[in-house]
Symmetry: C2
Subunit: 156 residues, 2 copies
């Protein structure tokens, strides 16, 4: 089990594409509510199931297990709520921290967010200049909410 | 992935205890509704996560994965809906089929049910004489429902 502390930001421009490479992620939810989620995810040729439980607005318990790719595909197609989230994740190391930049596709095309994972809620960090407004506390940006309310339906 | 076809019966007496031995099961649910469940289970020193999705009243898709025992314990205690289901499961082979007899404890003390797993919905089978009334279609006997409405609260 890991404890996950994350902060989330919008992205001002696409500079990150010159700095690092991306991988395609597909993911769906068996369960998603304010307190807990059960997620199934495909990354390249691997499948995963992940349970997250909320500790505070910033922190969550997380349990993740690899499962057979073909099972994960079948669960995504047959059991998870639609639409399935598809995104390209870029991973960028900057001044001692790892940033994950998610470029969404499909029903969420146009949305790009960057996340940083921290050791604890008070840890300081530096931001690349293309990092924009913080949206950690804006629940619209939670991946499981993007299933229920995709970016293309937002009032922008 | 397996397809699961099960029929469920009440039990007339405790003859089964002389025929086979039992193991303690503890299990809880991250999600349970009419169509799908996500279950975490402890058997002896092993932990499991299981996803089931309903195909018909008798048949379900089932995906099961072993996970670390200590993770399973932590998920049961911290994240699953209470009460946790505790039962002793006896496994009895009879005329080419395996029967699982579940003797419930705690909030469901007094409830005993026997299940047989079949290859398909039309497969015939013979029943030991201590098997009673069929309850396959009575949703009160579904394990995840016993969390929401334990046997001790039933009008008996």
């Amino acid at each position: 089990m890991g404890k996950e502390v994350e902060r989330k930001f919008l992205v001002k421009d696409s500079s990150y594409k010159n700095l690092c490479s991306g991988k395609l992620f597909k993911q769906g939810y068996l369960l998603s509510n304010l307190d807990k989620t059960v997620r199934v995810r495909l990354i390249d040729n691997k499948g995963f199931i992940t349970i997250k439980s909320k500790i505070s607005d910033l922190a969550r318990d997380e349990f993740e297990y690899e499962i057979p790719f073909t099972d994960a595909e079948e669960i995504l197609q047959k059991i998870c709520e639609k639409p399935i989230i598809e995104k390209t994740r870029y991973t960028y190391n900057y001044k001692g921290h790892t940033w994950e930049i998610d470029e969404f596709h499909g029903e969420n095309e146009g949305l790009i967010v960057a996340e940083i994972e921290l050791e604890d809620e008070n840890e300081s960090f530096e931001m690349p200049e293309w990092i924009g407004e913080e949206v950690t506390f804006d629940s619209r940006y939670i991946n499981s909410y993007l299933v229920k309310n995709p970016y293309k339906n937002w009032n922008k």
